[in-house]
């Protein structure tokens, strides 16, 4: 394996080689433990740093979209804002309501953060760079993701406050509704790769025909599946436009209203980590993981982990963009969208994937493309027309700004 690693470019495999060098120096008995620790520490360092960068990126980005500057006091252009936020969160008093259930109130953020971190174990960050290559990797990811709902409930219920309980019920209803489409949207990628292991799925997409990559995004079922996955991932992370459970203007902070200081920071961290993890899974399933977009040597010489983080940054910017652009969905609109549109489209997508696999691959895949796109587009149009509201949209008039 070391020979293959060196052949694939030393810069690409620098972390793998470093780990092997470190392991060669540890005594034999401690090697499994040392291997685990050496693999885990970069995860614990990199993703919270990415979280810190994302907070400042989001605030400045949202500010610009809303025609204002973001934070610009701390450091050059406000880029050291996360440090200030972190210090504030750490030194704030930890207020726990007297009527709250102390044990459950304490454990809710702990479980949330633990589940968010554990989900990174099966995501391949670069070539040969996955923490654990589980045979049922994608199933593990979704199983850990479903623990998050329990912690949301614990947070909301233990605070013994009406706002937090209401926020928790809404959040759980939303998360459960969008978990089924999330899983179903990822089934086509699993079907095509023939394995639940994330490493196998990425390796199946890492080839090139000419310069064109084998990403699953460049297939009709891949486009639709990716779109559905993106919508469901936005809803699972309680991001706008699905952030009714925690919208500040609606329900003040939903289920973490009674948390202050470090526990609030933990919830914030866990939510963003969950967002990164789901984005990373989307990258793994549809965007080819760590493989470069085009097969030209200019792109393939760039290390695999750089591509992974570039795609992840693209996702983050997309989420921030959507947050600044779209208005919030109402609860019934949210649930109706999940059960009446996303779920049928996800089931249809699975059927179309089977169709794609069994249709003949003509030159440029033209027959497959036309048939599959038609089978996907017609029900999409029909469903969206049947779900449209009966209200007519009028020309917008401004009452006071004449």
């Amino acid at each position: 394996m070391i020979v293959a690693a060196v052949n694939a470019g030393s810069v690409d495999q620098v972390f793998v080689l470093a780990k092997h060098a470190l392991l060669a120096r540890t005594p034999d008995a401690l090697q499994p433990l040392a291997s685990a620790i050496i693999s885990i520490i970069p995860l614990l360092v990199v993703f919270p740093s990415l979280f810190a960068i994302t907070t400042v990126l989001e605030r400045k980005g949202l500010g610009r979209m809303q025609n204002r500057l973001g934070p610009n006091r701390v450091g050059p252009f406000g880029l050291l804002q996360p440090a200030a936020d972190g210090i504030k969160a750490l030194i704030k008093e930890d207020v726990v309501p007297a009527a709250a259930d102390q044990l459950v109130h304490f454990f809710a953020p702990v479980i949330f953060v633990a589940a968010a971190f554990v989900a990174y174990a099966v995501l391949p960050i670069g070539r040969n760079m996955v923490l654990v290559n589980l045979n049922a990797g994608v199933l593990f990811f979704f199983a850990v993701g479903s623990v998050v709902e329990l912690s949301v409930f614990m947070a909301g219920w233990s605070s013994r406050s009406k706002y937090s309980l209401l926020g928790a019920m809404r959040a759980i209803a939303q998360m459960i509704s969008y978990e089924v489409p999330l899983v179903l949207a990822s089934v086509p990628a699993i079907m095509q790769a023939g394995s639940l292991s994330t490493v196998d799925i990425v390796n199946a997409q890492a080839g090139y025909t000419g310069i064109w990559p084998h990403w699953y995004l460049f297939t009709p079922w891949g486009i639709v599946g990716f779109g559905l996955f993106l919508i469901a991932a936005t809803a699972e992370s309680n991001r706008s436009p699905f952030d009714l459970p925690e919208g500040e203007s609606e329900i003040i902070a939903g289920y973490f209203i009674e948390y202050s200081g470090f526990k609030f920071a933990l919830f914030f961290l866990a939510e963003y980590l969950g967002m990164f993890a789901t984005s990373a899974l989307g990258i793994t399933l549809f965007l080819g993981g760590w493989s470069a977009p085009l097969g030209i040597s200019l792109f393939t010489v760039v290390p695999s982990y750089i591509w992974f983080f570039a795609k992840l940054l693209g996702f983050i910017c997309f989420f921030i963009w959507i947050r600044g652009t779209l208005p919030r969905l109402r609860m019934d609109q949210l649930m109706g969208f999940a059960w009446k549109f996303i779920l049928p489209m996800a089931l249809l997508n699975i059927f179309v994937t089977g169709l794609w696999r069994f249709l003949p691959a003509s030159p440029l895949n033209s027959i497959r493309w036309i048939v599959c796109a038609a089978v996907l587009a017609a029900p999409c149009v029909v469903l969206s027309m049947s779900l449209k509201q009966k209200k007519k949209l009028l020309i917008r008039t401004y009452h006071f700004a004449e």
Binding site: D101, N135, L139, F142, A143, S146, L150, F153, I172, L387
Partner: protein, 173 residues
């Protein structure tokens, strides 16, 4: 009897005992979740990866949430709660008798000279499980599908409030 097994067994037994013994129903369900997680750990320890992850996804992620929602929706703070029935002694006696009978049967089944060499964990891949589901166990798979559909529709209809019945009125979506 490795340390891993003993720790996982302790978590499971503590969680389930708390689930059946605590006063507050929501605490019971949360302790039950710990018990389910311990069981999932045991399945992983025994080498059944797929079943372990399915246990977490279905039991911790769905059944526990369902139970918690049901507890919250049927919460009546006004009534005095008796948590155990009047005849709890008999219940404990029966459960104890069942456990002692089973334990004795298990003990007797394993003669002391039965120290079989530890078999290596069978490496089951999801591929094999999928093959088995689609070839040998396809009939139970389809029946389970029908069962789950019937349970889904039935649960929605049973739990639906009569005043929410959509066949009675049609409101704007």
């Amino acid at each position: 009897m490795t340390a891993t097994f003993l720790i996982l067994a302790a978590i499971t037994v503590a969680g389930t005992a708390a689930a059946m013994g605590l006063r507050n129903a929501v605490h019971c369900v949360l302790a039950l979740t710990a018990g389910f997680a311990g069981l999932a750990g045991l399945y992983l320890y025994l080498g059944a990866q797929f079943v372990g992850f399915t246990q977490i996804m279905v039991y911790v992620g769905a059944v526990a949430i369902l139970a918690v929602f049901a507890v919250m929706m049927t919460h009546n703070p006004g009534e005095p709660e008796e948590i155990f029935s009047r005849f709890w002694v008999w219940g404990a006696v029966i459960a104890g008798a069942v456990f002692l009978t089973l334990a004795r049967a298990i003990r007797l089944a394993f003669a002391p000279a039965d120290a079989t060499p530890a078999t290596p964990a069978p490496s089951t891949t999801v591929q094999q499980i999928g093959d088995a589901l689609m070839h040998r166990y396809v009939l139970p798979l389809e029946i389970i599908g029908l069962l789950l559909t019937a349970a889904l529709i039935g649960a929605v209809i049973i739990a639906m409030d009569p005043k929410d019945d959509p066949t009675l009125e049609e409101d704007a979506e």
